[in-house]
């Protein structure tokens, strides 16, 4: 089930980290280019709304600042997703404290895509987005990582802070909910 290309990716990440630590700032740029889009997709899919840029940038800044704590036990991307997820949770908490009711629920994903919808205007895409809006925040996180990023349950569990079994259950529940929504 594990792919050889994944190990190559991981090795590349580790090489780039070593190069950056040795003073090669271009290696940092390459690392950002390798993972920024995936982080942006994830942040967007779980309701980061208009702050995707900030979340992605903060994720990288924090990751590079604490790069020595990255032991390579998981892939760099999984580690980055973990950091991004924590940042998003912190933002939600601080928003809640300020009284801004920004729960990541029903309509969060659509706001990101509203502008895009006017251009794309594809009925299937809209229905799928609506189906995913019905998922719980955790289901959406897991589903986004599993289907959008192709992560294994192990990687998802590491990112989300749960078990592989729980991640699997969340994925299949999400899949069932989407099918039911589309069948209605």
């Amino acid at each position: 089930m594990t792919d050889v290309a994944l190990s190559t990716d991981e090795r590349t990440d580790l090489d780039l980290i070593a190069r950056w630590k040795a003073g090669d700032q271009r290696a940092a740029t390459l690392l950002v280019e390798r993972h920024a889009a995936a982080l942006a997709r994830f942040a967007s899919s779980v309701g980061a709304r208009g702050e995707v840029d900030e979340v992605v940038q903060d994720t990288f800044v924090r990751a590079f600042a604490s790069i020595d704590s990255f032991r390579g036990e998981s892939s760099l991307r999984t580690w980055l997703f973990t950091i991004a997820r924590r940042l998003l949770l912190d933002r939600r908490r601080s928003d809640r404290r300020r009284g801004e009711q920004i729960e990541v629920h029903e309509n969060d994903v659509t706001t990101d895509y509203d502008a895009l919808d006017t251009v794309v205007a594809e009925e299937t895409q809209q229905r799928l987005r609506s189906a995913m809006q019905k998922l719980s925040p955790t289901q959406r996180e897991v589903f986004s990582l599993r289907v959008g990023e192709g992560m294994s349950y192990k990687e998802i569990a590491d990112s989300v802070g749960t078990t592989e079994g729980a991640a699997r259950v969340h994925y299949h529940n999400a899949m069932r909910a989407i099918k039911e929504f589309l069948d209605d």
Binding site: M1, T2, D3, A5, L6, W20, K21, A22, G23, Q25, A28, T29, V32, E33, A36, A37, L39, A40, R41, A43, S44, S45, V52, D53, V56, Q57, F60, V61, F64, A65, I67, D68, D112, Y113, L116, T124, Q125, L128, R129, M132, F143, S144, R146, V147, G148, E149, G150, S152, R168, Y171, H172, M175, R176, I178, K179, L182, D183
Partner: protein
């Protein structure tokens, strides 16, 4: 849309979509999908969902990379562990020195088992006081000292007392109560078992009545 009863293959479909299966699993999954309408439909749905999920705002990677400072190796601070180790070493050194000095003052025997108090000028109403402990080696009592046997019998008949004889004049001027206190303190310093100290105290108190 119905679910295929083959949960194992359904579990692999996202990996098949992302090309993350090894050769044998990929072949197995592809063969199953080719013959299963439910899995084929689910795989198609997953493909559409992935396409939807992968639409995200454009990210300026160059701007993000510019915000990343150059690497700085972590500075190792001397934490509590180092401080505690240094304190432990100091404590051991001080303790060892103290023990050496105490033993040196007592002569060759490392542990004092008997304390003989020999006032140089014995006042008539203050008899000499000797305190013996049960495990002390036997020995000679210096001249002028009157040994008062404690309630507890010595463990060995052959003894060589290590005396802490107070021959200085100052101690001879002490009152009975002060002398008693001093003896108790000396015994405490010797770290003798508590029953020995109590016994010695009892003997001393009796001797002063």
């Amino acid at each position: 849309m119905t679910d295929c009863p083959n949960g194992e293959i359904r579990d692999l479909l996202p990996d098949l979509l992302h090309g993350r299966l090894d050769a044998s699993d990929r072949t197995r999954a592809e063969e199953h999908v080719a013959s299963c309408d439910d899995c084929r439909a689910e795989l198609s749905l997953l493909r559409d969902l992935r396409s939807t999920l992968r639409r995200a705002p454009a990210i300026d990677a160059t701007a993000i990379a510019a915000a990343i400072p150059a690497y700085r190796a972590p500075v190792r601070h001397r934490g509590w562990g180092g401080w505690r180790a240094a304190a432990a070493i100091a404590a051991i050194a001080v303790g060892g020195t103290s023990i050496t000095l105490v033993n040196h003052e007592r002569g060759t025997a490392p542990v004092t088992r008997e304390v003989d108090v020999l006032p140089k000028k014995t006042s008539p109403h203050v008899p000499p006081v000797a305190i013996s402990t049960p495990s002390e080696p036997g020995g000679q009592t210096p001249a002028g000292a009157e040994r008062i046997a404690p309630d507890v019998a010595p463990a060995s008949g052959v003894t060589e007392p290590v005396s802490l004889a107070m021959t200085g004049g100052a101690t001879g001027e002490l009152s009975d109560r002060e002398l008693s206190t001093l003896l108790n303190e000396i015994d405490t310093l010797d770290a003798l078992p508590s029953e020995d100290v109590e016994g010695a105290g009892a003997v001393e108190l009796e001797s002063t009545r």
